[in-house]
């Protein structure tokens, strides 16, 4: 005998997607932490409290696209590159720079408000 939640396929896929994104953020930070980046540095870059960074990196719950982009940008990463087409009928998989299959094409951390405005 087994049980599972009564979610429709879209709500279930959404739930899995959110959890995958959280895992991707955590893994990305772990990679960057090996190079010496700290939560405090991220907090300073983003101009927010370190506790908030910790909550965003490790806390449960949803995360907005803006927060996601801010975190990845502050870590000098590409937030999100592609959704891979289904392979043999498997559901789509979110690919991030943590997988090693994505080319990091630009150093976002060097962008400034002025250069963005010029562009």
């Amino acid at each position: 005998m087994s049980f599972r939640t009564d979610l429709n396929p879209y709500d279930r896929a959404y739930s899995h997607f959110v959890r995958q994104v959280r895992d991707a953020i955590q893994r990305t930070f772990d990679e960057e932490a090996e190079s010496g980046i700290t939560q405090k540095e991220l907090a300073d870059t983003l101009g927010i409290d370190q506790a908030l960074v910790s909550r965003r990196l490790n806390g449960p719950g949803n995360i907005t696209l803006r927060t996601l982009a801010n975190l990845y940008t502050a870590m000098g990463r590409e937030p999100l590159s592609n959704f891979v087409a289904p392979d043999h009928g498997q559901p789509c998989k979110l690919m991030t720079s943590t997988s090693g299959t994505v080319v990091q094409f630009e150093d976002y951390s060097k962008l400034t408000a002025a250069s963005c405005a010029t562009a």
Binding site: M1, S2, F3, R4, T5, D6, L7, D11, R12, Y14, S15, H16, V18, R19, R22, D23, A24, Q26, R27, D30, R55, N58, G59, P60, G61, N62, T64, H88, G89, Q90, P91, K93, T96, T98, S99
Partner: protein, 199 residues
């Protein structure tokens, strides 16, 4: 110690180890161990959670539940009104937590889960923005859930606040007729291992 801890991969190349973890290849020892834990849980009247993982992916960790917890998931949990709608419905929050747990994602101690004081009782709490779930590990990577609650806006700060939940879990656990060791003692690394590759 189970073969999940890596004994069966000793001496194998890093690529084989990575593939074994990525695809969670089951060895005969794995299957025997899993079978004994699963059989013991079923014999004790526990209900297995069925994770909906990607095709071809085997769960890294397993969740069983008491009949009371299954009833809570089916009846009480869907009626909970989330504090913040952006966190999703309680069912979605539960699915997120179970998906991450069964997939073998790293758990954040304190945010996702934590062992409650007193640690010697080995009662664990799993958390989402609006839910608290209480249970114990009957074996490494095998979680048994018995009690679910709506998380209040003020949170639980003191041991006394948790005591009713701990007592309920311990009472249920003590009443189980099972040939499993009662519970795993220790910290997060003692009760779960992580799948090292992203899936």
């Amino acid at each position: 110690m189970t073969s999940r801890d890596g004994d069966h991969l000793k001496g194998r190349s890093p690529r084989v180890k990575r593939l074994a973890e990525q695809w969670a290849v089951a060895t005969p020892h794995d299957l025997t161990y899993m079978s004994s834990v699963v059989d013991a849980c079923k014999a004790a009247g526990l209900v297995a959670y069925e994770p909906m993982l990607r095709r071809g992916k085997r769960a890294w960790r397993y969740v069983f539940a008491s009949a009371a917890f299954v009833e809570w998931v089916k009846v009480d949990m869907p009626a909970i009104v989330p504090e913040h709608s952006e966190d999703g419905s309680p069912c979605e929050q539960f699915e997120q937590e179970m998906y991450g747990f069964c997939s073998g994602y790293a758990l954040a101690f304190g945010s996702d889960t934590r062992c409650l004081e007193p640690i010697r009782l080995s009662v664990w709490e799993l958390k989402t923005p609006d839910l608290r779930m209480f249970g114990w590990f009957c074996a490494k990577n095998y979680l048994v859930l018995h009690k679910g609650e709506k998380k209040g806006p003020e949170g639980l700060e003191r041991w006394d606040d948790y005591k009713p939940f701990i007592d309920e879990v311990v009472s249920f656990r003590n009443g189980l007729v099972t040939n499993l060791p009662q519970y795993v003692v220790g910290g997060l690394a003692d009760v779960v291992s992580n799948r090292s590759e992203s899936i």
